[in-house]
């Protein structure tokens, strides 16, 4: 049966091996959803194990993918819509690791909060699939689709705690501002399309390098709107207002995913669009990114000082981290991009580890997050306090932790790219941020827990309950996550070479003409 109309149809080339992560994650998520809605009494171990296995499978699959990209070079496929290069594989591996970590944290959390279990895992895998699509997008519309697959799932994840009004409030805020940001991003894409005649990154770059635009108003407006949308997604000042509220309200394991996975995917997209596709017009967007970076590090670090809720502190510190990452982006060269990827790897580890500690500390109702709850932690739970110390020192960028290596990388890239003032501002802000982490450390080590004091005076109200939960052990999953992140942060700090090589090989390149 040969249809003459179909004779001329050329089917685009599909690199199935490069699609494995997306297929595994989305099929894994949908299969779990189907099974869970058919099987009545599903043990809560099954969805967790399924998610962990899927995440690990993606992690394992990324090794041969990495080798294939190293030997065969980056490629574009599906008609130039999707690409695979070093950055794609690296971000995919980071997202897979974050999925595994979040799934490990989720089960004890869901059991503690008495929440139904399957949705979190399904949405987690689907949102990770969106993140992978973002990291491999070679076309603006594909990028937008990936972003929305990622974001829409995370909106629901934020609202997952049915009995906490804070969780739903966080979800609504995240949703409204996220949709607002998406609209800006999309408008930027439309104007970019109008200015260059294509939504494909390779064709945009080709057009911009070969044609001198006489009237580049539409292009500049497009870049500006695109930048606003991306800055919202990665929580850069002044588009950060949602971050502290969402981090405070959303369930703690979900926050771990937001901080690690969503930020990694957001920066992967930002680097791809700005540095790779619009690299020829770096002089237009680089100063704006530098301003965003400077504002983010300063506001993130200094407002964090004023917080009394540890989750809000870490939210503002994640804004400061976004500023440091932007520092590498504004350098707009291979060195800056490599520094961004190295920073992302370290930040993913630090964020998952820190929010794992917060998940454990949250206690029933996920509400024990004030600085007072951390007083005297070193005496009550020395191992947990010790691990949190390593993670906080890492976030502060103390030498011999991965945080130092990461910060040094982006600062060096900024100085190299003649961004002296913004590098100076960032160093100053790093000192302020160190004070924030020090405050938590002082509370944990030097101050007596008010819980013991309350016990002594015979006041056995709700503080007695809190003390009771303080003695329960750390769940195994959280132990694994915290342990692995602490060890890797220290390992990267002592032997930074392999990460640097990895990041250098992961610099995205333009493929597909």
């Amino acid at each position: 049966m040969s249809n003459p109309l179909l004779a001329n149809v050329v089917t685009p080339e599909v690199l199935w091996w490069a699609l494995i992560p997306v297929i595994l994650l989305s099929a894994g998520g949908m299969l779990l959803l189907t099974v869970a809605s058919v099987v009545r009494r599903l043990s809560d171990v099954v969805p967790q194990a399924w998610t962990v296995v899927t995440g690990l499978a993606v992690l394992v699959a990324s090794v041969p993918m990495w080798n294939e990209v190293r030997s065969g070079g980056p490629r574009s496929y599906l008609g130039g819509m999707v690409a695979v290069d070093g950055s794609t594989v690296l971000v995919t591996a980071m997202l897979a690791a974050a999925v595994v970590a979040t799934a490990l944290l989720a089960r004890p959390y869901l059991a503690r909060e008495d929440l139904p279990g399957v949705e979190l895992y399904v949405l987690l895998m689907l949102s990770a699939a969106g993140g992978v699509v973002m990291a491999s997008a070679d076309d603006l519309i594909v990028l937008f689709l990936g972003l929305e697959i990622l974001s829409i799932a995370v909106y629901v994840l934020a609202a997952l705690h049915l009995r906490r009004i804070e969780s739903q409030e966080a979800a609504l805020k995240y949703f409204v501002l996220g949709a607002f940001a998406s609209a800006f991003l999309l408008y930027g894409m439309a104007l970019l399309y109008g200015a260059t005649g294509s939504t494909r990154l390779a064709l945009i770059a080709e057009h911009l390098s070969s044609v001198v635009l006489l009237d580049d108003g539409m292009l500049l407006a497009g870049i500006a709107l695109l930048l606003v949308g991306l800055a919202f997604k990665v929580a850069a000042v002044p588009f950060h207002a949602w971050t502290p509220d969402v981090y405070q309200g959303a369930p703690s394991p979900v926050v771990a995913w937001m901080a690690a996975g969503v930020k990694a995917a957001g920066f992967a997209a930002m680097v791809r669009v700005l540095v790779v596709a619009l690299g020829t017009h770096a002089s237009d967007w680089s100063p704006a990114v530098a301003v965003l970076a400077g504002l983010s590090v300063v506001v993130g670090a200094s407002v964090a000082v004023l917080q009394t809720d540890v989750r809000r502190m870490l939210a503002y510190s994640s804004i400061a981290h976004a500023g440091f990452l932007l520092l590498g982006v504004q350098a707009a060269d291979a060195r800056g991009t490599a520094a961004v990827y190295a920073y992302l790897v370290v930040y993913t580890l630090l964020a998952t580890g820190s929010f794992a500690v917060l998940t454990v500390m949250g206690g029933p109702g996920d509400s024990a997050h004030s600085l007072d709850d951390y007083r005297g932690l070193a005496r009550r739970r020395p191992a947990l306090a010790g691990a949190f110390t390593i993670l906080l020192l890492g976030q502060a960028g103390v030498p011999f932790t991965g945080g130092f290596v990461a910060k040094l990388g982006v600062l060096a890239a900024a100085v190299e790219g003649r961004g002296y003032w913004v590098a100076g501002v960032a160093m100053l802000a790093a000192a302020i941020a160190a004070f924030v982490y020090l405050r938590i450390l002082v509370a944990m080590y030097l101050e007596d827990g008010y819980l013991e004091d309350a016990g002594d005076t015979g006041d056995t109200g709700d503080t007695g309950d809190a003390e009771g939960t303080g003695d329960t052990g750390v769940p195994l999953g959280a132990r694994v996550v915290i342990g692995v992140s602490c060890v890797s942060v220290l390992a990267i700090g002592i032997v930074p070479g392999p990460l640097m090589d990895l990041a250098r090989d992961a610099v995205p390149v333009l493929v597909g003409g």
Binding site: I141, L172, F180, A183, Y193
Partner: protein
């Protein structure tokens, strides 16, 4: 008077701005959703008129993707609204102020 592409682009810009301003000033969550829709449809108009101007199908093709995404977004958004309204009748965005520090 000839209606050129730039008229449509200007209309798109006006609609987008109306949506953005509405989202920032209105307090009813449902109206905020409508403003998001207005913004996305302003982008659609821009895509279509630019595609017609360039003689390229890509612009019109993009609109389908945006429409699907917008529909999915609204489904999720309404779900969140319903979950909040169940707990608080007639809540507006100003009533949601549990979070903060």
């Amino acid at each position: 008077m000839v209606v050129t592409t730039s008229w449509y682009l200007a209309l798109g810009a006006v609609l987008f701005s109306l949506g953005a301003v509405g989202l920032l000033t209105r307090r009813n969550p449902l109206i905020m959703f409508m403003c998001v829709e207005l913004m996305l449809n302003a982008v659609n108009l821009t895509f279509v008129s630019l595609g017609a101007e360039l003689g390229d199908l890509g612009g019109q093709l993009s609109v389908f993707f945006v429409l699907v995404v917008a529909a999915a977004e609204v489904v999720v958004g309404l779900g969140i609204i319903v979950a909040i309204m169940r707990r608080r009748q007639g809540a507006t965005a100003d009533d949601l102020s549990v979070l903060g520090g």
